[in-house]
Symmetry: C2
Subunit: 122 residues, 2 copies
DNA sequence: CCGCGATATGATGTTTTCATCATGCCGCTA
DNA sequence: TAGCGGCATGATGAAAACATCATATCGCGG
């Protein structure tokens, strides 16, 4: 029997959580859910333009990682974030990313202000 | 030419960041760095018990994702977090994880308080 | 200047994840 | 209850990430 999540070293569980987040479509899905509180699969499909079964697989990954919860009402299924802290996590990530990207841009700008590299300069 | 990070859709860049975090050893490394401000490769190797080149590859991944910065002094190389917000990100993640795990444990406890499943009961 | 300890890079086989397609299940409505 | 729309699951080939080993670089002491 594999170890249950709660008796594995915490850094493994953490890495596992990040694996759940490590795909562009899944980020998009989570951000849609973060903005809207509750979104139907049909709406997600419309927004993401993913093929139904492909979307469904990503939703399944998110469920497996306990990042989203789903509820069936009538013939539609609605998803929402499993925990409000996920919103917080996304927000911190965005802030971090903006820091990193702006430093990148600075480096890029600095590089571009240098003289161009030509065949002769080598 | 591939798109530079800063001109790609943000959700791709975000997913990419999470990919950088999506490995147990890399989490361990980041946590060691988060606690200590600056750690030499030799110390990281001692703590993680990784083979040198294996550790070095993970450090290289972390560098590529701009999560850590390194500096060589004398014959040793020292690593530190590239941005203080990474500490914040790890903290939020820990908090989120504890929420998720405690809910897991609740479900587990509830399940264990039910009568056992036996061959006869099926 | 040579060799050694410390770290990094490259190449390769293996495992994991992704994308796609086919198929299955469920609840609604005719 | 038959059939359809909405969603999920399973199987398969392709792509990416991982682990391991061999090799390369860099600084220092001898």
């Amino acid at each position: 029997m594999p170890l249950s999540q709660s008796q594995r070293p915490l850094y493994e569980v953490k890495a596992n959580l990040f694996k759940g987040l490590a795909h562009p479509y899944r980020i998009r899905i989570l951000e849609l859910l973060a903005d809207a509180d509750e979104v139907s699969v049909a709406a997600l499909q419309a927004e993401t333009e993913l093929e139904a079964s492909h979307l469904s697989q990503h939703l399944s990954v998110l469920r497996r990682h306990h990042l989203v919860a789903s509820e069936r009402r009538a013939s539609h299924v609605y998803y929402r974030l499993a925990d409000p802290r996920i919103r917080e996590l996304l927000a911190v990530t965005r802030a971090l990313l903006l820091n990193i990207l702006s430093e990148d841009r600075d480096r890029l700008d600095a590089a571009q202000s240098l003289p161009a590299i030509t065949a002769e300069s080598l």
